[in-house]
């Protein structure tokens, strides 16, 4: 994990996974683009070496994330912690989703990454789509995993902000009786252990929800539908067939607004598809981006 000081005055934490690619100037997409001969030579395609940037869900991210650790076999991964998650004051000047897109770009500039693959899950999926609409040329491929950001009256996004944490488990997973779902519920109700740690972990969770709420309440639609046409990256839309938070029907709504997309609907998958079908997702994203 590294901590960046941004020109905005904010700081940002970024988790990194994998080291299969050299970092720094070598991965600057700008260089690759300028070198047209190289770029067009499919046998020596620099895209293969581009890093993958991942925007996490409202649940946050840490170095143990199983999905990102597995995906790191194929990519050098940068997973910035969303503003607000560590400190709510970071949100003070991030009034709109555009402000947040600029903030993410500040982070990527500070990391010196000019071109990359982008993926995001749920709340992070919305910001991955927003980023790609704001900076279409920087995003080589886009993978959206059950993103929020569009609204359809026929299948409203679940109001997670009015769902008690202990009830959330039954909506997050495709199979509410699965071990994953059970583990989530027991985690949510677990109060054993160090009191300070519990308090801080609850506050972390709450800060994440407050942040998500700022850009998702009361309706998770901040006008992404007006901007999606700007995305030029080929986009993979991934959904769990049984997603009870953001219905898989939204894949079609995204597809209608995007120039170049394909859908992967995973049978039996829920909203936490990154945990439920890790292998399948890693394979699909790797194939899409390479």
């Amino acid at each position: 994990m590294e901590e960046l000081n941004l020109p905005s005055g904010r700081s940002a934490k970024v988790f990194t996974f994998g080291d299969n690619t050299a970092v720094g100037d070598n991965i600057k997409g700008d260089n690759a683009r300028q070198d047209n001969d190289n770029y067009n030579d499919s046998d020596n395609c620099n895209d293969n070496n581009l890093p993958l940037v991942f925007f996490h869900s409202a649940g946050g991210v840490d170095e143990n994330d199983p999905f990102l650790n597995q995906l790191a076999a194929s990519f050098k991964i940068y997973a910035p912690v969303a503003p607000g998650f560590s400190d709510l004051e970071e949100l003070d000047d991030l009034v709109s989703v555009s402000d947040v897109a600029l903030h993410y770009d500040d982070i990527l500039e500070a990391l010196n990454i000019a071109e990359f693959h982008l993926a995001g899950h749920s709340f992070g999926g919305m910001f991955a789509a927003e980023y790609a609409a704001h900076y279409p040329k920087k995003v080589k491929t886009l993978s959206l995993i059950a993103p929020v950001g569009l609204w359809n009256d026929d299948y409203p996004v679940l109001d997670i902000f009015a769902t008690p944490p202990l009830e959330l488990g039954q909506y997050l997973f495709g199979d509410p009786d699965s071990e994953l779902a059970q583990a989530f519920s027991s985690l949510a109700s677990d109060i054993s252990g160090n009191e300070e740690e519990i308090v801080e972990s609850i506050i972390q969770t709450v800060q994440g929800l407050v942040t998500a709420g700022k850009y998702m309440m009361p309706i998770p639609d901040r006008g992404l539908n007006r901007r999606l046409y700007r995305v030029i990256a080929p986009t993979l839309l991934i959904w769990g067939e049984r997603d009870q938070i953001v219905s898989a029907n939204y894949a079609k709504d995204f597809a209608k607004l995007l120039r170049d997309s394909k859908e992967l609907i995973v049978k039996g998958g829920g909203h936490m598809i990154t945990l439920e079908f890790t292998d399948k997702l890693v394979e699909a994203i790797t194939k899409h981006a390479k």
Binding site: G84, L88, L91, V95, D159, F161, A162, T163, P164, P165, L166, E167, A188, S189, D190, I191, E195, I198, V199, I202, I203, T205, V206, Q207, L209, V210, T211, G213, K214, M217, P218, I219
Partner: protein, 430 residues
């Protein structure tokens, strides 16, 4: 001490199986349960009761604001206050109050409160609650991340709008106005006293009240004994800020039922109390708070005890599960102080001393209590309880109380309805 007669205006006709068949009295309560005819009678009777309280010598009559619920039928307390301003002359009109973040622009409140102050002859108390999560976040769609900041900016704007001698521009984060210049302006100078109702948990709210010299009113349904800890923390905060301990800078809400004996109290008050606690407070936990409604600082203070007590992380964001309440619990825990006038005097004296509050907001009507019993309870309280507590805190000055501002203290009176000016007679066809 001062005594205020507070009406919540609960919907009085929720079915017996309401709890079993509905998940919440608030936000998504079944609209089919609302019968406008019941509403017609309820509003008129409730206003009769408030007016009667004014006649009986209560210092203030209180109304408040809630949305999308059967717990309190006043989306606009200002409408109620307007009719009370015309039908009463003595009691102060305590609007507890307008949830500032829900008004766009908040100068609407500066205007309406100024109207009420002029109409009532300077009798208005201006209450500015944040509003419950059910009202603000879930019924009116305010994200919790910005709710309190928006609320505070709105209050600052209203206070400026009442006091600036010239029209001014306001470039706020949540409100931008090129010309702020409300007409009318309040009769009371510099402005009506400001009361801040709260839930007894926000350290920042206490500090903010202290900084601005606002009255803080802790509105709890769960009795004064459970409130001691909270009010102690409030007074400690005042002390830390080098602010005096004048009891008139604080208020507390208490249910009371006056009867001859305990047995009679149960006979009279158990039904409306159980109606209130088990139907009007039957809320879905998901609506009772939302992440961010409480500040991280307040949470950090509250979580430790909650983690220990609640047996789950659920309560950490302030969510409350509604459990069925018994009459025994209601009485034992003083949710409702019930009993003979002497008992009530003794308990309220204890309440005022232990919480150090000079303003007592009384719920003498609750749940589905009918008009007759309400009047009787009000009468008994006014004649047998109030006089015995009147002198308490007499050595303190109440700086948080309306002062008319009328030049010659002469108030305008409504013309009699059947006067020569026309009254309510039907126009005669030519």
């Amino acid at each position: 001490m001062k005594f205020h007669w507070f009406h919540l205006m609960s919907y009085p006709d929720l079915p017996d199986d309401f709890r079993e068949k509905n998940r919440s009295v608030w936000v998504d309560v079944d609209p089919n349960l609302y019968d406008p005819e019941v509403g017609h009678h309820a509003y008129n009777e409730y206003l009769d009761e408030l007016e009667y309280a004014g006649q009986m010598g209560f210092d203030g009559i209180c109304v408040n604001e809630h949305h999308q619920n059967a717990y309190g039928l006043m989306p606009s307390p200002n409408l109620m206050a307007a009719t009370l301003a015309r039908r009463t002359t003595e009691p102060k009109i305590v609007v507890m109050g307008n949830s500032v973040a829900l008004y766009n622009p908040p100068t609407r409140i500066a205007e309406e409160f100024a109207m009420l102050d002029c109409l009532s002859g300077g009798r208005l108390v201006a209450g500015f609650p944040v509003g419950t999560p059910m009202d603000t976040i879930f019924s009116y769609g305010e994200p919790p991340a910005t709710l309190r900041e928006k609320y505070r900016e709105g209050v600052e704007l209203i206070l400026r709008a009442w006091q600036e001698p010239e029209p001014f521009a306001f470039n706020g984060k949540y409100t931008q106005l090129r010309y702020v210049n409300p007409w009318p302006r309040p009769l009371q100078k510099p402005h009506p006293p400001v009361w801040i109702p709260g839930g007894g948990a926000s350290v920042e709210t206490w500090r903010w009240c202290g900084e601005h010299n606002f009255l803080y009113a802790y509105l709890s349904y769960f009795g004064y004994e459970a409130a001691v800890k909270s009010m102690d923390a409030y007074w400690e905060t005042m002390a830390e800020m080098n602010i005096d301990q004048n009891p008139y800078r604080a208020g507390f809400l208490q249910f009371v039922g006056v009867a001859d004996t305990d047995a009679e109290a149960e006979k009279l008050y158990a039904e409306p109390a159980l109606y209130f606690y088990n139907r009007c407070l039957h809320w879905y936990p998901g609506f009772t708070s939302a992440a961010g409604y409480m500040s991280v600082e307040s949470m950090r203070k509250g979580i430790k005890s909650q983690v220990a007590q609640a047996g789950s992380a659920l309560s950490s964001i302030g969510q409350v599960t509604s459990t069925e309440t018994s009459w025994k619990e209601i009485v034992d825990k003083s949710y409702v102080i019930c009993g003979s006038p002497d008992t009530v005097v003794e308990r309220l004296e204890d309440l005022a001393t232990r919480l150090n509050v000079g303003h007592l907001m009384l719920l003498l009507q609750f749940g589905n209590m009918g008009k007759e019993l309400t009047m009787q309870n009000t009468h008994r309280f006014a004649t047998e309880v109030m006089p015995k507590l009147r002198d308490k805190f007499g050595d303190h000055v109440d700086h948080w109380w309306p002062s008319s501002g009328l030049a010659n203290e002469k108030t305008a009176q409504p013309a009699p309805i059947n006067s020569e000016l026309g009254g309510n007679s039907q126009p005669t066809p030519d």
